[in-house]
């Protein structure tokens, strides 16, 4: 739809009202984004921080031809899928329980939101301590119960699992709250009608609950995927910056390390543009395919 001069004139007041937000958005989102695009074509690094120049597609080619990118991309996808699966499954399961008339409902609801309320930094470092293979609470418990010692933080997949467990613990309350909101908006009449028709618990879940919480869950899942894909904090803090041996990285933690530890700014900028494109294509297709933007009623 074209915006004509007439439209702008007619809505002048609305544009004036939105102008401060637009200016702030331009300053904190649009400008850094455009600057990042420029940097991605440059040789900016520690030796060329002020005298950088445009070098074309070199950084993009370097990123794509390195095995690091493909390895961390695969790991990031795995990380995202496992986390979001557990966030949604646990979140919806708990929301279904909390939606019933159970005793101490508000107490349980508060308790289950707690992981979300604790600062991520503290959660991550606490879990890291609990994963120490000799002295950590989790390791001691597993050792007492099953007599095995798991080297969580010193092996590649042990550290990955530690990050996943921490992030699942942190992430399910959000999905639970969203699902609970969706469940509470479903009219009781629908369940009553289903009861009269003799529908089982499974049929009601499949034909009433899931379709009706879908409009709130799909955007939440989309957000969950993007947040998890870019969840730098947990991976960085639990694995202490990618340990062991820089194997416990997802794409964003590797970008951070390249940019702010190795100061390979051009390379890191190109890397981040590739991630941006991946997420843009994914989100666009996901929302389109799931029709999340469409009205349900």
């Amino acid at each position: 739809m074209a915006i004509g001069v007439g439209t702008i004139k007619n809505n002048r007041l609305a544009y004036v009202y939105t102008m401060p937000a637009l200016i702030v958005m331009a300053a904190v989102v649009v400008y850094p984004f455009l600057y990042n695009i420029v940097l991605s074509f440059s040789n900016m690094n520690l030796s060329h921080f002020y005298n950088w120049r445009i070098i074309g597609l070199g950084n993009y080619l370097n990123v794509l031809k390195e095995s690091t990118f493909w390895y961390f991309l695969w790991k990031t996808i795995l990380w995202t899928v496992i986390n979001v699966f557990f966030h949604v499954t646990i979140g919806v399961f708990l929301a279904l329980i909390l939606n019933k008339d159970i005793k101490g409902k508000s107490y349980f609801r508060t308790l289950l939101i707690l992981p979300w309320a604790v600062p991520q930094y503290i959660t991550a470092l606490t879990w890291r301590g609990m994963f120490n293979s000799e002295y950590g609470a989790i390791s001691l418990m597993i050792d007492r119960l099953f007599g095995i010692q798991i080297p969580w933080l010193t092996t590649e997949w042990g550290a990955f699992a530690a990050c996943v467990i921490t992030n699942v613990w942190l992430g399910f309350p959000f999905m639970m709250i969203v699902a609970l909101g969706g469940l509470q908006s479903i009219p009781d009449e629908l369940y009553e009608a289903a009861d009269i028709d003799g529908a089982s618990w499974w049929h009601k879940l499949r034909n009433i609950t899931i379709p009706l919480i879908k409009p709130v869950m799909i955007p939440a899942i989309t957000l969950g995927i993007i947040w998890t894909f870019n969840n730098f904090n947990i991976v960085w803090l639990v694995s202490n910056g990618g340990e062991p041996a820089d194997t416990t990285h997802i794409l964003v933690s590797w970008i951070y390390k390249s940019g702010f530890r190795y100061f390979r700014m051009g390379y890191a900028a190109a890397f981040s543009m590739i991630i941006f494109l991946i997420l843009l294509i994914f989100s666009f297709n996901f929302i389109k395919k799931t029709k999340a933007a469409e009205a349900v009623y």
């Binding site: 520690l46 293979s133 080297p151 202490n240 041996a245 820089d246 530890r261």
Partner: protein, 379 residues
């Protein structure tokens, strides 16, 4: 800086602020790597703290990124002459300019031992191994050691480097090129691997926090740590002794920790009155009186001649032992290449302890990565 150090610093800032009404002085504490990154980002953005405190190996990157100010024009010769030049030069010059004024020297790793558990510390690695077997104990009878002879952050390259020098190696040459793929690196890595996996006298998994907690709780009889930690041990009532990291039997050499001055650099963005106040604060924090307060509480080696030669310092057993280790230390170069060498060492070195690669493969891989990082950043 650790809790006790930040507490003293806070007192000193409050004292200084009384003489400068209208100005506010606050401190921000981060771990060294994070502090450097955060400072660089903020200073490049035109703000950031007035003073940046850290080891002198930060100077190279900070100068290249133009985030700290040359100081020689603001400080007179008499002031600069009041700092020690032996056993190491306190103030840091880089590319012909003065960039850091130290409030202490050393920053070096030593063997710290709990006198209650170790009356006579080991002098050689053979002695350490022998003593280690006696000290490492299964206290609760579950078949696993609860107390270890020694704990330290051995998976961090900075904490492994003394042993490379102890085997006669080094990590960079006169031209600032990496020298990691050597027999010494392989032997040093093998030694540490064996202490954990063969001798079992150090924990299998041990980062800085874990090793510190073990030593504080009496579950490690000895620890390899630096001056920043001693105050906490003393404050917690541990009767500590300090000595050199045990000699390498094969070479007869002492492991040589990196040594460096620690001090203050000034933010490039400071001008006018703010700069003058920051310089006054720098002079105050590096005064002999203030340095001695830190020394008495933390056992740090002061940088000011008047404080360094103070009888309370010269007669202090901990400081004398610390200087004894310092004498066999290696001055940490301030060049930027060292940053890339640390970064290159970490992944391969840590892979040894996960069993992914052998020490000889790790030495080759870290050399290659160091060369690549230097080339990529210098081209």
């Amino acid at each position: 800086m650790r809790p006790l150090a930040t507490k003293i610093l806070q007192q000193k800032l409050e004292e200084f602020s009384q003489k400068h009404p209208g100005w506010k002085f606050a401190q921000l504490f981060y771990e060294p790597e994070t502090a450097r990154t955060n400072y660089i980002i903020s200073a490049m953005g035109g703000s950031g703290p007035a003073l940046f405190w850290g080891a002198s190996d930060n100077i190279g990157p900070l100068v290249e990124l133009k985030v700290i100010k040359p100081l020689e024009q603001y400080l007179d010769a008499a002031f600069l002459d009041s700092f020690i030049t032996e056993p190491i030069a306190a103030n840091t010059w880089f590319q012909g300019h003065l960039y850091q004024i130290a409030d202490q020297v050393g920053n070096h790793l030593c063997l710290v031992y709990n006198k209650k558990l170790v009356p006579d510390p080991p002098k050689t690695m053979a002695e350490l191994r022998k003593l280690g077997k006696e000290l490492t104990k299964d206290l609760n009878g579950d078949g696993k050691p609860d107390r270890y002879a020694l704990a330290w952050n051995y998976t961090e390259p900075f904490f492994a480097v003394p042993f490379i020098y102890g085997y006669g190696g080094r990590i960079l040459d006169e031209n600032n090129q990496p020298t990691l793929n050597t027999k010494a690196t392989i032997q040093a890595a093998q030694l540490i691997y064996d202490l954990a996996n063969k001798d079992r006298i150090i924990p299998l998994e041990c980062d800085y926090e874990v090793s510190n907690a073990l030593f504080l709780d009496g579950y490690a009889a000895m620890i390899i740590n630096g001056p920043w930690s001693w105050g906490t041990y003393i404050e917690n009532g541990i009767d500590i002794g300090i000595t050199r990291i045990p000699q390498i039997d094969e070479t007869g050499l002492w492991p040589s920790p990196m040594v460096s001055p620690l001090g203050y650099s000034v933010n490039i963005n400071l001008e006018g009155e703010k700069l003058m106040v920051a310089l006054e604060l720098l002079k105050f924090l590096t005064s002999a009186e203030v340095e001695l307060q830190f020394t008495r509480a933390l056992g740090t080696i002061p940088s000011r001649k008047q404080a360094f030669f103070d009888p309370s310092v010269m007669q202090n057993d901990l400081i004398r032992s610390s200087i004894y280790q310092l004498e066999v230390g290696t001055l940490m170069p301030g060049v930027t290449e060292l940053r890339w060498i640390w970064d290159a060492m970490r992944p391969s070195y840590q892979s040894i302890f996960t069993g992914q690669i052998k020490p000889d493969q790790a030495a080759l891989a870290m050399q290659q990565l160091a060369e690549r990082l230097i080339t990529e950043n210098r081209e």
